[in-house]
């Protein structure tokens, strides 16, 4: 049963211009691994050189930040929505 991952605007260019990607997996880590296997350009935007999730990209399962759940081992079940929320700095100032 695939889980929906919501792709934020700045990363859609690396995800075939899609705003939602459906992938299989039972934990957040599995979902992201399966997604980046298909969309390889996304990988460097989500993970650093050591393979750790980047500190300026927050991952939520439904309403909750996975850093306060079980991080990448956080289980996902049918009907859950995973959101990638990267930091943006824009203030429309320039």
């Amino acid at each position: 049963m695939p889980t929906r991952i919501l792709i934020p605007t700045p990363l859609r260019v690396y995800a075939g211009k899609q705003d939602v990607i459906e992938v299989e997996g039972s934990t957040v880590g599995e979902l992201l691994a399966n997604m980046t296997a298909e969309y390889t350009e996304l990988r460097k935007h989500l993970y650093n050189e050591d393979g750790r999730l980047r500190a300026f990209v927050a991952i939520f399962v439904n309403d909750d930040d996975i850093r306060f759940l079980e991080k990448e081992a956080t289980p996902v079940k049918e009907g859950d929505t995973v959101s990638i929320i990267p930091t943006v700095a824009g203030g429309g100032g320039l």
């Binding site: 500190a55 943006v88 824009g90 100032g93």
Partner: protein, 390 residues
């Protein structure tokens, strides 16, 4: 939070002006007096700062400070509604002051003509009750967050990109701060700015009014503040979502064992070289091509292959005759279209994306790829001023 000085009554003119507030129980005379006694600092008089400052002035916030050091440009007018066409070329602070005074002459406007830094932020913030962050870069975002946490002042946060906005209230007592959500900034260049990615002109209007709403609620103590909640707005789908934010016990600024107890060097923290960035006038690295050289080549019919790595929308605005468009994001998957090309002059708007493209091309074996220094903006300045700049 500020308490109303109840001995300071409203004048008859003020009662008339604020009557739609005064008749609501949630604001009333007490709330309006709290607003009058309150002070709010807007960081930036740009896209977000415009509606924030205008609505706070209209609402009767007694003292509004604005930090900015920029000048109004034509490209600001699509969204920065505190400035008008006659203001182009004026300092934003002057233009903003005039607009706010026209909206509500009762409000004290304080202008801070400075680039916010670790050296001045605490002194400036100290004079205000609420801080509203409408900046457009990561070093200032972290600086504003840390200064607010250190001083115990709430930060009405808003951020925008293309069609998406984010808002929250950080640094309020007991609530999370920006670093609880994003402990570290992205490396420079990985996250595009509005100047690079564009922004829907109306978007800062929506996000800025949310920030202003939160500032007013904090001042009058009404409703549920956006503390511990992250609001995400998608203008294209017209959808609001809310995520839960938690205070991170390990946060270096507001956690149990905090390590940041004074302001740090935020340019260094964000990996940004402080000031003195090379300009288009600086002598080019020997490998780069200049627009003068390109023009001479085109004139002598010794035409090199010109690769434009901007987006199609940008190409439509202006382009160098004979250039081939492959957006930077598509370049890795379209390298085969360049096979057999020897020398290539690669350009973008001002040279940053094309520098990445040249690096990528050289790593892929295209050893004769050269960056056009200063991009098409430099081309327009030097070679063809009839083209529009954007």
């Amino acid at each position: 939070m500020t308490t109303a000085t109840t001995d300071r009554a409203l004048t008859n003119e003020e009662v008339a002006r604020y009557s739609r507030h005064l008749i609501m129980p949630e604001v009333g005379m007490d709330g309006q007096l709290k607003l009058k006694a309150a002070s709010v600092l807007c960081i930036g008089a740009g896209g977000l700062g415009s509606p924030v400052a205008m609505y706070l002035a209209a609402a009767g916030v007694g003292r509004i400070g604005i930090v900015d050091f920029d000048v109004v440009d034509y490209s600001n007018l699509q969204r920065q509604i505190i400035h008008g066409t006659p203001d182009v070329g004026r300092p934003k602070l002057e233009s903003a002051r005039d607009s706010l005074a026209a909206i509500n002459p009762e409000v004290d406007i304080e202008t801070h003509d400075l680039a916010l830094s670790s050296a001045n932020a605490l002194d400036v913030f100290h004079e205000y009750d609420v801080i509203v962050d409408g900046t457009d870069n990561f070093p200032t975002r972290y600086l504003v967050n840390d200064a607010c946490v250190l001083l115990g002042k709430p930060n009405c946060y808003g951020s925008i990109f293309r069609f998406e906005g984010q808002a929250s209230v950080f640094g309020a007592p007991g609530g999370p701060c920006y670093r609880c959500l994003y402990p570290e900034p992205p490396p420079p260049g990985l996250v595009p700015s509005c100047a690079e990615g564009g922004v829907l002109g109306i978007l800062p209007g929506v996000v800025g009014t949310i920030q202003a709403t939160e500032a007013v609620k904090l001042i009058i103590g009404a409703g549920e503040p956006l503390i511990g909640r992250f609001l995400i707005y998608d203008a294209l789908r017209m959808r609001f979502r809310e995520l839960k934010l938690r205070k991170d016990p390990e946060c270096p600024v507001c956690g149990d064992n905090r390590t940041v107890t004074e302001l740090i060097d935020y340019d260094q923290f964000c990996g940004v070289a402080p000031a003195a960035a090379p300009t288009a006038d600086a002598p080019p690295p020997s490998d780069d091509a200049t627009v003068e050289q390109l023009k001479a080549r085109l004139d002598s019919r010794d035409e090199p292959f010109i690769l434009d790595v901007r987006e199609p929308q940008e190409y439509q605005i202006c382009n160098i005759p004979g250039s081939t468009l492959i957006p930077l994001g598509e370049l890795p998957s379209r390298l085969h279209e360049l096979e057999g090309r020897g020398e290539m002059i690669v350009h973008c708007k001002s040279g940053a994306r094309s520098a990445k493209a040249v690096k990528l091309l050289r790593e892929a074996g295209f050893g004769q790829a050269k960056n056009l220094r200063g991009g098409i903006l430099r081309w327009i300045d030097v070679v063809d001023p009839t083209l529009p700049k954007y």
